[in-house]
């Protein structure tokens, strides 16, 4: 127990481009809302949509 590492949850956002179907995972930002438009797609001129928001456990 003394040597066990503390686990923290980090929130991630997955954006999906509706045009080229490209997925991009990034850290969650304060105003991110599911299904809303996010950023410009890095591989085409489409606007990405937030597909998922989830948390992953990380050891500190």
């Amino acid at each position: 127990m003394i040597f066990s590492k503390k686990k923290i949850t980090i929130a991630y956002t997955v954006e999906k481009c509706p045009k080229c179907e490209m997925l991009r995972k990034r850290k969650f930002l304060q105003d991110d809302v599911l299904f809303s438009n996010s950023t410009k797609c890095s591989s085409c001129d489409g606007i990405t949509v937030i597909e998922k928001i989830f948390g992953e456990l990380m050891e500190q």
Binding site: T9, A11, Y12, V14, F28, Q30, V33, L34, F35, S36, K52, I53, F54, G55, E56
Partner: protein, 373 residues
């Protein structure tokens, strides 16, 4: 008396039953455990319970502090709002008498809804310009802080009563149930950041599935904090229902269903919800079944079953299994990854169980925090 010629070999000899010292060594603990066994057990158990109570105390302090900080930093508030919060935290609900169970569901529903309405109104007095999403957020944070306060008080009461009476059997039920209580309390504490940041929680998988089906369709508010969209799918009419997101609410799907069935002929109801997994079951596994998949105190389920029975409508359900902690904390990747598969299963279920020209109500059950439509 001469102490210099003691024969230690003889004194501690194990092979002689008549050795008086060895008899005392054996008999003393027996006497001790016979007369003071319960007190010793009480002492050992008390230490464990005290540690848990200390943890619960820190959880309730933390949740209160988080709520106060949130209001201070994000809302225009009155100067003495902390006093009001402390008063809210001690609010209790007295459930109706059930000696005569006739009409008990309506009474319970009335009591719970009256409490919710009261809380909402009083949050508005804390910050009159508050919007609906912030209001739902503060209400949820208040409920978490209030629940943690209540858990702490009950556990502490049970412990102190057992200590006061010096009664070991009285502490046993508490010792047995404590790990489950701690699991719930820990989950509630960890739920706070997700609700503060308006992020979807595990319980939101139902609204997430139905919310995506509702995108690009006209929505209307059919009952309190509940959204409806009417669409079609392979010759069938779909009535899609979910709590109005992205605020933290579960809506009133039973009221909405009652309204839909009173105006339309419905042939099937499909409910999508998160369900508690059994130990050993995989998290985020999908299961299908019959009957109303909806949690809570049971009033919504009663109403849905009542509507379905009166109108002879079959209820199908799809659940995504998860633990208590997963259900109320930030949605895990495993659960989020199952949203598309669950939606495909909903469409499959519609095709398998209904014919063209029929109407189906699809309800996404659960807290819709962070999930719009």
């Amino acid at each position: 008396m001469n102490f210099t010629n003691i024969d230690f070999d003889q004194l501690f000899a194990m092979n002689d039953d008549s050795n008086p010292l060895m008899m005392i060594v054996w008999i003393l603990p027996i006497i001790l455990f016979v007369f003071y066994g319960q007190q010793i057990q009480l002492f050992v158990t008390s230490r464990e319970i005290k540690k848990a109570i200390k943890k619960l105390d820190s959880f309730r302090d933390e949740s209160r502090k988080e709520l106060v900080i949130y209001i201070e930093q994000n809302l225009k508030h009155e100067n003495n709002f902390t006093k009001k919060i402390d008063r809210f935290l001690d609010y209790f609900t007295i459930m109706p008498v059930d000696m005569d169970p006739n009409g008990i569901v309506d009474k319970v529903q009335h009591t719970v809804r009256a409490r919710e309405d009261y809380t909402r109104e009083h949050i508005k007095t804390l910050s009159p310009q508050i919007n609906d999403i912030e209001l739902a957020k503060v209400q949820t944070l208040l409920e978490i802080a209030s629940s943690l306060q209540m858990i702490y008080k009950i556990v502490n009461h049970m412990f102190l009563t057992a200590k006061k009476q010096n009664n070991y059997p009285l502490i046993l039920p508490l010792q047995m149930i404590l790990p489950f209580i701690m699991e719930q309390a820990d989950a509630m504490r960890e739920a706070i950041p997700a609700f503060k940041n308006n992020q979807p929680v595990g319980d939101g998988i139902g609204p997430m599935v139905v919310g995506k089906m509702m995108l690009d369709h006209k929505k209307e508010i059919i009952s309190f904090q509940t959204a409806l969209a009417k669409t079609d799918f392979e010759g069938r009419i779909l009535y899609l229902l979910k709590a109005e997101g992205p605020g933290s609410t579960v809506g009133r799907p039973a009221d909405a269903l009652g309204k839909i069935t009173s105006e339309n002929k419905i042939d099937a109801i499909i409910m999508i919800d998160a369900a508690l997994k059994m130990e050993g079951e995989d998290s985020a596994s999908i299961a299908q079944g019959f009957g109303a998949a909806i949690g809570g105190i049971g009033t919504e389920r009663f109403q849905i079953e009542d509507v379905a029975t009166k109108n002879k409508i079959p209820i199908f359900s799809i659940v995504v299994k998860q633990s208590v902690k997963e259900a109320i904390t930030l949605m895990t990747k495993e659960i989020a990854d199952k949203a598309d598969e669950t939606r495909l299963q909903v469409y499959e279920m519609i095709k398998e169980n209904t014919a063209q020209g029929q109407s189906i109500v699809v309800i996404g059950v659960g807290n819709t925090v962070g999930v719009p439509q």
